[in-house]
Amino acid sequence: MNNLETLRNAAKLQWEQLKNNPIPLIYVGTASCGRAAGALAILDAIRKTLEEKNLTARIVEVGCIGPCYLEPLVDIQLPGRPRMSHANVTPERARYLVQSYLKSDKPAVRLAIGHFGEDSSEFVQKVPRFFDLPMLKPQVRIVLRNCGFIDPAEIDHYLANDGYLGILSAFAKGPEGTIREVKEAGLRGRGGAGFPTFRKWEACRKAPGTQKYLICNADEGDPGAFMNRSLLEGDPHAVLEGMLIAAYAIGATRGYIYIRAEYPLAIVHLKKAISQMRAYGLLGKDIQGSGFDFDITIKEGAGAFVCGEETALIASVEGKRGMPRSRPPFPAIAGLHGKPTIINNVETLGTLPNILRNGAAWYTQFGVEGNRGTKTFSLVGKIKRAGLIEVPLGMTLRKIIFEIGGGTTKKFKAVQTGGPSGGCLSEEFLDTSVDYESLGAAGSIMGSGGLIAMDEDTCVVDLARYFLDFTQKESCGKCAPCRVGSKHLVEILRKITKGEGEPKDLAMLETLGDTIKRGSLCGLGQTAPNPVLTTLRYFRPEYLAHVKDRFCPATVCRALLEYRVIPEKCTGCQRCVSVCPTGAITGPRAKTHNLDASKCIKCRACYEICRFDAIAGDAIVIKSTRRASDE
């Protein structure tokens, strides 16, 4: 009765019915990112409009399709017409769109930014295909293939789209065959270090013992990273199927999903998906007659960054304080409760069904030698087109930032790869291939996939201080180099941003960074100094400007800034006088205002109001000027 093929046929039928809809379909992206942009209010507006105007349509809530800068997205598909996508929708715009599409003979197609049909269709007018948009065109969507297309709360949608074919293929190949397939596909762990997945699996499979565990690491803690969240919210079954495959390959009977409690929506979707799997005979005893037993438990993390580290994660699952321990023994030999344990990242697991379904040969067509397949990235920062992207490994940073991301708002300055543990790379590295080795050689890391682009308004010293402050606060406190060393790093960087730095501080940063890298126990400490060390390497003049000239070229470090009124431009409108909280700006109406630097607290209020609300617009400037250092 739980025969997967029967269920799939029913699901496919349902899916076809949805596709060949007799009634209009309205897709709303309601993942966390969409919600943050206001998707729930839009959903509300659409429902109300349908009710008020007595219109019929089916609303489908889907996950994130990627381009954050276009959120919220509302797609409308009329019967027999292509699905039309509308970006940056407001509730008012949503009301208008619904009425226009559902009531008018001439829907407002011109307002769409992309469509999901054929260009030949007259209906689409001059709107391009959604996937021909510059941000999406260079992408290859394997892991994210279903995100934005299926309702994550419906297992049938996943099934209809070749879901759970991967695990059937694995069952057919047997555990060894599955490991071989993953080996041939050249899949490397997507959690950050890029360790070959099959090698861990083999060690675990060969480790003695009958009780083995599989843990899905969904403790995505990098600031600015949201790849795993989007996948779990948009297509939870892909990850769960990946867990089935991995567990089957290594011989695990219990699985855990270690997910941060800050991802409530992902947890809701996972819980729902797991209960659907049980109902469909995809969890429990003798799954689909394969003789393979497996069940999954969700374990919520308490918000510690370090718990993304394998051994700390295991301690946390065991109910202990999340603190890493030294290896050997590796978790594949002695992990959870001392038993062989494999920890795979969400994205690694999400890739597996595709490899098993389509074969290793298919997968190796993507990427470059040694770095096969695709990788998802959170492309954020001062970038024009921010969002979640998936690209083949080996693409250059330049292509990612300028073609996909559309470049930075001001002049490009640097890109931070790998989150707070990664490195900050300058312009000369733009042609670096994005693969594990090339990024490592440049002093950075691939990491789990955070890409933060920066323009000339970013001060690299301040950036390093920000990341170090984060890792320092998230240090578990176990080993001295990380706990104490990162604290000193932060203090020295803070000193420099305050204009109190000395040239010898730079040497100290280097020695200290080196000590922390070499002396720390776990990956957190070993990579924590990367932002400092790489910025020191590639942006040394900027550090020197801070310590020697008391000058912040990016005009960020507040202690090194000066506010000035340009007399020729000031119209004496008194807007700045009215907002200055300390009375630093004075002057009668229609006369040039005077700014008393001794009273100025550099709150930026006058600058903002002059730019946006005053006649002159640019009479107040913020400047950092070179000064001789105190010595």
Binding site: A304, S326, G477, R483, S486, T511, R518, G519
Partner: protein, 842 residues
């Protein structure tokens, strides 16, 4: 023995053999190669936190820590390369940037040590005496090895308040290096789980959950964390400024019948403190709060007696030993056998006990000797002693599949057994505890059978009945059910276990139905074929019986009615030992039959003056009141004389002399022998304890080789019948005004030589409350009582006032308190009426 396979490793270009499974650090230490460490400790699991022990291994990337990396065949290890030395120095600098470091890198530190004999003066002179650990600090060794001269980093002083509110040890986490030894000790070895890391990043500190103080957090005050602290962050209050010990003496703890082995820390002629010994038989490197923190203050009190004296009215007249013995002899010579009584502590050594009873029987031609164990065990004494017939060694806890704890609280006293118990739980043993109140085993046991105060007997009988039932029980093991369901589940466990072990605590011993309760325990043990560990509160209970320190018991634990044994003793001692059983015992003493001489050896009798004309008080400390003694004789403590005792397992163990007694104090046996010789009685010419041991062995053949050299436990067949004492006070069930409550009283068990440890040891009062009762907050609110108020409890003739302490774990409607032996009312538990006592304000 299976030999562990060996591997060859190369450390600093030299080949060494190492056992497989060893870490690099262990292998290096075995071959005396120094690798600096701060967080590694031989008793603890590897941690890898301080990073000082990093090494280079040719086949491994990075700098692995030698304390966590296992050796492998052919490993090439470098411990002193330039890279290693540099990184170590840098890490050490980082550690020291958080740590006050003037005693580590100050230029004046050598000169400073000149003042170390007057340590407080050094603080005044140099102004940097913030840590008591100078010369004991492991950080000093590591800094010296690294040759560190300056730190270079800004000081990151944490400025945390020093935690001093808990008893026994202070905590200054400003000088903590977060090596985690204390946490691992508490969590992994003691399995107590009081200490943990809290916070993260730079705010990481050692602490308890929710920042509760240690008493509230469930700390057992075993001091194991203090012992492993490499710095002065954890420091014993009593001896923190005393510096390092000069030598140590292995001896037996005198504070309970478990008989843990410990290392007395000695400096000059003074015991500084006590640390656990690595004894594989009993305590395996652990002690409880009494052994760890109560020894030094018990033997070092400023009131210690150093010279004999007599009381002339209110004036003390110092005597020489000769004069004192003459005075005692004069009074004793004029004293008929019926006009004499000797009361001795079961804390005394075998030799003291033996000589004391011989003194009574040979020199005084009497049988009038008694010891306070009779008072402690009350009515259930006989039934309690019978349990020893099924006694097993403590090590059985480790193997038992099912363990039943009856009235046992192992938080403070007996925590060594508690550790074994928790370890057993970790390896999969099932533990059932029977206790009427919240106790240390409540949260770790699989089943807690919680009878109402009067229902303990009923529960045990039910359990015995079910465990003996032939057919299968319908109830499956299901914790959390009703009491009856839990009893059935426990019975099932006991029935199916191959060799369960019972641990007996003190909770039910003071109940009026203790004889029946203990009888039920015996029945249950017989049915379940269980080994029993009675865990007596007295360190030498078995010695006090086997040496014959009861009127009705002869040496060998044989009844005094045994005429053949009387004849044998007469022959051995060369004097006629009186025949016939004496019914005299200490609790029956009354002013109506006033004695001529009452001889108290390490015991105290309240109101003794009314019981005897002349009182000899022989102890470490003066009598509680001046009227209570006529002649005061200074005795040696357990740490001041070689002797032996017998623990609850029947193991003969040594008390080793660590220091000289204060002043002219002498061991009890020497004083008794001196007086006996003054009485011109032959047979008391002992030169040292070995003479006495030889004589004991000749009188009691079972104790052959009783010098404590072999610590083989002996199953001792006690052939005697020691009647307990039924009641001390009685109460009619007349109704009085006030709130009806159920009062349960226990006997104070943390005693040494007649005095509560709480009276001798600062800090002990906080954990061994005496003469107070606990009340539930609900009852207290109803009666308008606050913490520290006094209540009056009445029931017929029984009337007593107690200060109260609110305790959220106390069940509603009940009161619980601890009183001195001999003050338990009958019945116990007792229905009383409670009212608040109002003190008139002036």
């Amino acid at each position: 023995m299976n030999s562990v396979p060996e591997v060859t490793i190369h450390i600093d270009n030299q080949a060494f053999a190492a056992e497989k499974g060893m870490t690099i650090l262990q292998a290096a230490q075995r071959h005396n190669i120094y690798i600096p460490t701060l967080c590694a400790h031989k008793d603890l699991t590897p941690f890898g936190g301080c990073r000082m022990c990093i090494v280079e291994v040719d086949s491994m990337r990075g700098l692995p820590t030698s304390c966590t990396t296992p050796v492998e065949e052919g490993m090439v290890i470098h411990t002193q390369s330039a890279q290693i030395r540099a990184v170590r120095q840098e890490i050490l600098k980082l550690i020291l940037s958080e740590h006050t470091s003037s005693c580590l890198i100050c230029d004046e530190r050598e000169e400073c040590r000149l003042y170390s004999t007057t340590i407080r003066k050094a603080g005044v002179t140099t102004g940097c005496r913030y840590c008591s650990n100078d010369n004991r600090c492991e950080l000093q060794d590591v800094v010296e090895h690294a040759g560190l001269q300056e730190i270079g980093y800004a000081v990151q002083y944490r400025d945390l308040p020093v935690e001093k509110e808990d008893p026994f040890f202070d905590r200054d986490y400003n000088i903590c290096i977060l090596c985690g030894r204390c946490v691992r000790m508490c969590q992994d070895v003691r399995t107590a789980g009081t200490l943990t890391f809290v916070q993260r990043g730079q705010h990481t500190v050692i602490g308890t959950a929710f920042h509760r103080n240690h008493i509230e957090a469930g700390c057992e005050f075993c001091g194991a964390c203090v012992s492993v602290c490499p710095t002065g962050a954890l420091a014993e209050k009593a001896n923190k400024w005393d510096g390092a010990a000069e030598r140590e003496t292995i001896t037996t703890c005198p504070f309970c019948g478990i008989g843990c082995q410990m290392r007395l820390q000695v400096k000059g002629d003074r015991v500084l403190g006590s640390l656990p010994a690595e004894d594989p038989l009993i305590n395996r490197g652990q002690l409880c709060v009494k052994g760890r923190f109560c020894v030094a203050e018990t033997v070092n009190g400023s009131q210690r007696l150093g010279r004999p004296y007599r009381m002339e009215g209110a004036v003390k007249a110092i005597l020489s030993w000769d004069e004192a013995a003459d005075l005692a002899a004069a009074h004793l010579a004029a004293c008929a056998p019926e006009e004499f009584g000797l009361f001795i502590s079961p804390n005394c050594s075998n030799e003291d006990l033996y000589v004391a009873q011989k003194f009574v029987r040979a020199a005084m031609a009497s049988h009038r000797i008694d010891n306070s164990a009779r008072l402690f065990y009350g009515a259930g004494f006989n039934a309690y002693l019978r349990l020893f017939r099924r006694s097993v060694p403590l090590a059985e806890i480790e193997k038992a599949p099912v363990i039943l704890c009856i009235g046992l609280d192992a938080r403070y006293g007996r925590s060594v057994a508690g550790v074994e118990l928790r370890r057993a739980i970790r390896r999969g043993a099932r533990v059932v505890t029977i206790h009427p109140r919240q106790h240390s085993l409540a949260n770790v046991s699989h089943l807690w059978l919680q009878p109402a105060p009067e229902e303990a007997l009923d529960l045990l009988r039910k359990l015995a009945g079910l465990a003996g039932a032939g057919k299968s029980l319908s109830t499956a093991f299901r914790p959390g059910g009703s009491l009856d369901a839990n009893i059935a589940a426990a019975a099932l466990l006991l029935r199916d276990a191959s060799a369960p072990v019972f641990l007996i605590g003190s909770e039910f011993l003071s109940c009026h139905d203790a004889p029946e309760i203990l009888e039920a325990v015996w029945q249950l043990a017989e049915t379940a074929n269980a080994g029993v560990l009675p865990l007596p509160a007295q360190n030498n209970l078995l010695g006090s019986i086997l040496m014959g320190t009861f009127a009705e018991v002869l040496p060998g634990g044989i009844t005094a009615a045994d005429t053949e044994r009387i004849r044998l003793l007469s022959e051995k001692w060369g004097t006629q030992v009186r025949a016939g059983v004496s019914s005299w015992n200490a609790p029956t003493m009354s002013p109506d039959e006033r004695l001529k001489v009452l001889y108290l050896v390490g015991e105290r009798v309240p109101g003794a003056r009314s019981l005897s004309e002349f009182i000899i008080h022989q102890d470490l400390y003066p009598p509680d009141s001046r009227q209570d003694a006529d002649l005061v004789l200074p005795a040696a403590a357990f740490s001041e004389a070689d002797a032996t005792c017998i623990n609850g397992e029947g193991r003969i163990q040594k008390f080793a002399k660590a220091v000289n007694p204060p002043g002219e104090a002498l061991p009890d046996w020497k004083i008794l022998s001196l007086i006996a010789r003054k009485l011109h009685v032959a047979g008391f010419e002992y030169e040292d304890v070995s003479d006495i041991q030889r004589e004991i062995a000749s009188v009691v053949p079972e104790l052959e080789g009783c010098d404590g050299a072999s610590r083989q436990e002996r199953r001792l067949a006690l052939r005697l019948d020691l009647p307990g004492i039924r009641s001390f006070g009685h109460a009619a069930a007349a109704q009085q005004e006030g709130i009806p409550m159920m009062l349960i009283l226990g006997v104070a068990e943390h005693q040494y030589r007649g005095t509560s440890l709480a009276a001798r040891v600062e800090g002990a009062a906080a954990i061994f409350p005496e003469d107070t009762v606990e009340i539930s907050p609900g009852d207290a609110a109803k009666a308008g009582i606050a913490n520290g108020d006094e209540i009056i409890l009445r029931c017929g003739e029984f009337e007593r006032a107690f200060p109260v302490r609110c305790d959220k774990d106390q069940p509603e409607g009940t009161l619980h308190g601890v009183v001195r032996p001999g003050q338990i009312p009958y019945p116990n538990p007792l229905s009383v009426t409670m009212r608040k006592r109002y003190v008139q304000s002036r």
